[in-house]
């Protein structure tokens, strides 16, 4: 047998860390979307979990109704979910910008219930299986654990998406407008930029990220109407810990907390579900604005 690290067999340690990283990939993708939306709209999108679920269902429906496979779904599902988000923003959310931001939270909470309830009514709560694409089936033995190829792909894909989004927002002209509009929408409007459209597109982009995460999750978690509802609260905690000020903060905190959860599973599995919330409480006591946040 191999040796141990802190009395834990290395295969358990690295295995759980890797699983944590996979979970962290989903946290990062979802909290990134939330952060982008919040930055522009000042709305906490409670429907984010429901739209993540919707992304998975769109992929499942594409496959089962139209025979469209995983790779196309990876492109189409986020577009469909994004378009749906744009409609929501134009017809409903946009009416609330002048009011207390809490109404945005309440509205999206209602939307989450509707979307989740509708899918639940149609498909029941048990998961629908979604096959792993043939190119990524099987796995490889890493020595310390057997890593299914697909889960490896999830980590890589989420890293690519998170990094390119960060670059797009921090380093491009469009991103500069976006950041400027967040700070001072009136001024940006005066420069001749269509701020309402930018708001709509931002919301669409944010929820498209959730849709993308849904497609990535479909082969792992099965496609179930309730898949988003527990995840979203954890992601909220991630967002509070990271602080709402920075995109980078959202992403880093997402991965970091995934890893931390994995570690907890090794050393004290009973606490793995609550560790994120405990950390949230501690961070709030020490740094109320969050790790990367600014006081507004």
């Amino acid at each position: 047998m191999m040796g141990t690290i802190f009395g834990i067999p290395p295969q358990a340690l690295f295995g759980q860390l890797l699983l944590g990283l996979i979970n962290g990939s989903f946290y990062a993708l979802l909290s990134l979307g939330l952060a982008v939306i919040f930055g522009m709209l000042n709305v906490i999108n409670f429907a984010h979990g429901a739209l993540y679920m919707m992304g998975a269902f769109v992929a499942w429906l594409l496959l089962n109704q139209l025979g469209i496979g995983y790779w196309w779904a990876l492109l189409l599902a986020p577009l469909i979910v994004g378009a749906f988000g744009a409609v929501l923003e134009k017809t409903l959310l946009s009416r609330l910008y002048k009011l207390d931001h809490l109404y945005g939270l309440l509205l999206t909470f209602g939307l989450a219930l509707i979307v989740e309830g509708a899918f639940r009514h149609q498909y029941g709560v048990s998961g629908q299986p979604y096959p792993i694409p043939a190119e990524l089936s099987g796995g490889r033995n890493l020595g310390f654990m057997f890593l299914p190829n697909y889960r490896g792909w999830v980590v890589v894909a989420s890293l690519i998406v998170c990094i390119s989004t960060w670059i797009a927002i921090e380093k491009t002209k469009l991103g500069a407008y976006l950041r400027a509009a967040t700070e001072n929408p009136v001024l940006v409007q005066a420069f001749g930029i269509n701020v309402p459209r930018m708001v709509t597109l931002t919301y669409a982009f944010g929820v498209a990220l959730a849709g993308l995460a849904g497609v990535l999750a479909a082969p792992i978690y099965q496609v179930s109407p309730l898949m988003g509802s527990h995840l979203i609260i954890v992601v909220f905690a991630v967002v509070v810990i990271g602080g709402m000020g920075s995109i980078l903060g959202a992403v880093l905190t997402g991965y970091g907390l995934g890893l931390l959860e994995g570690l907890t599973k090794v050393f004290y599995p009973e606490a793995s579900n609550i560790v994120v919330f405990v950390i949230m409480a501690v961070v709030l006591m020490v740094k109320p604005a969050g790790l990367f946040g600014r006081e507004r």
């Binding site: 209602g110 509707i114 709030l284």
Partner: protein, 332 residues
């Protein structure tokens, strides 16, 4: 179906509807009529259903104390409601406590939990406050899922209703109903007193303009914390009572959906009004009861009500009524 239901509907409509038009001079008489109506309804309607309405009405009133008068939206009130239910159920079932002591302990537990939540959450405002309370309550959910005494998915079952003060046998539906009614009235009275006390006035001042309240020398954090703890305590009172009524404490009571439900009740009935949450709770519980017998999906309907309320009906039912008849009632 028809005859009896109509007559009972009409009877309670008369019993309770009259004072609405009776005006101010008859206020006291009206209060007595409402009370008489509340005392009489269990003879007309299924008592378990009424008790559920009363428990949720108290829960919603407690929640409303925070949002309506303190301007703080807690999205984690299920934690207080549910954990009080667990503690009460455990005390009564396992330790063999009497129902009144059990409920008291549950309420105390909720108050303590409220203190902890409050200390952490009031550091932030607005959306952050909502998200922090939500996340903390989710932690309570996971604790309820894993702690041994809560029995995970099974919950604490077969909680004996027991004998109140050694006199009233709560296994009798009527005695149970009047107990719940008593608890509700006590809770409601506390809230009424709190809102009309100097404390309530300061809370409202903080809600309107916190910076101004601070500049006037109020330590607003303390007021907010006190309001939070009071709200949590009363939510716990409702939860503990519910555990005795249904003889169960389960995970349903600590889910975030439950927190959302109480937000809806208050929003629908009217935030910041005293009776709004009661109306909202009655409507939502009735609606859920009604929907359960149909094939309509409950969450979708609830979600639609949510959206409609937020978009066009933000004052809620009681708020709309108050706005219509505002001039008359403002003077009272």
């Amino acid at each position: 179906m028809s005859l009896h239901s109509q007559s009972s509907g009409r009877a309670s409509a008369q019993a309770a509807g009259a004072p609405a038009t009776a005006g101010l001079t008859l206020a006291r008489v009206g209060a007595l009529v409402v009370l008489a109506g509340l005392l009489a309804v269990p003879f007309l309607l299924y008592p378990v259903f009424l008790m559920k309405v009363l428990c949720f009405a108290l829960f919603a009133c407690a929640f409303n104390l925070l949002i309506g008068f303190g301007g703080l939206l807690s999205f984690g009130h299920a934690a207080f409601f549910g954990s009080a239910a667990y503690v009460t159920a455990h005390a009564v079932k396992v330790w063999g406590w009497s129902p009144e002591l059990g409920i008291l302990l549950g309420t105390l537990a909720a108050a303590l939990l409220g203190l902890v939540f409050g200390i952490i959450a009031i550091r932030r405002q607005g959306i952050y406050f909502a998200m922090i309370t939500l996340a903390l309550s989710q932690m309570v959910y996971f604790l309820a899922l894993q702690l041994p005494f809560t029995h995970g998915e099974d919950g604490i079952q077969a909680v004996p209703r027991g004998v109140l003060f050694g006199v009233f046998d709560l296994n009798n539906p009527l005695e149970m109903y009047y107990t719940v009614l008593g608890v509700f009235l006590i809770g409601f009275f506390i809230i009424w007193r709190a809102v009309h006390s100097p404390f309530g006035q300061v809370l409202k001042a903080i809600r309107e303009n916190e910076a101004r309240a601070i500049s006037l020398g109020y330590r607003t954090d303390r007021y907010k914390l006190l309001a939070f703890v009071l709200s949590a305590t009363l939510a716990g009172l409702a939860g503990g009572t519910k555990a005795i009524v249904f003889q169960l404490a389960t995970l349903t009571d600590v889910t975030w959906q439950m927190s959302g439900e109480v937000v809806l009740m208050t929003l629908l009935g009217g935030m910041g009004t005293l009776t709004g949450p009661v109306i909202g709770a009655a409507l939502v519980v009735t609606l859920e009861n009604y929907l359960a017998a149909t094939s309509l999906p409950v969450p979708v309907v609830i979600g639609c009500i949510f959206v409609v309320c937020v978009l066009v009906f933000r004052r809620g039912i009681a708020g709309e009524i108050a706005a219509r008849f505002g001039k008359q009632s403002r003077n009272v």
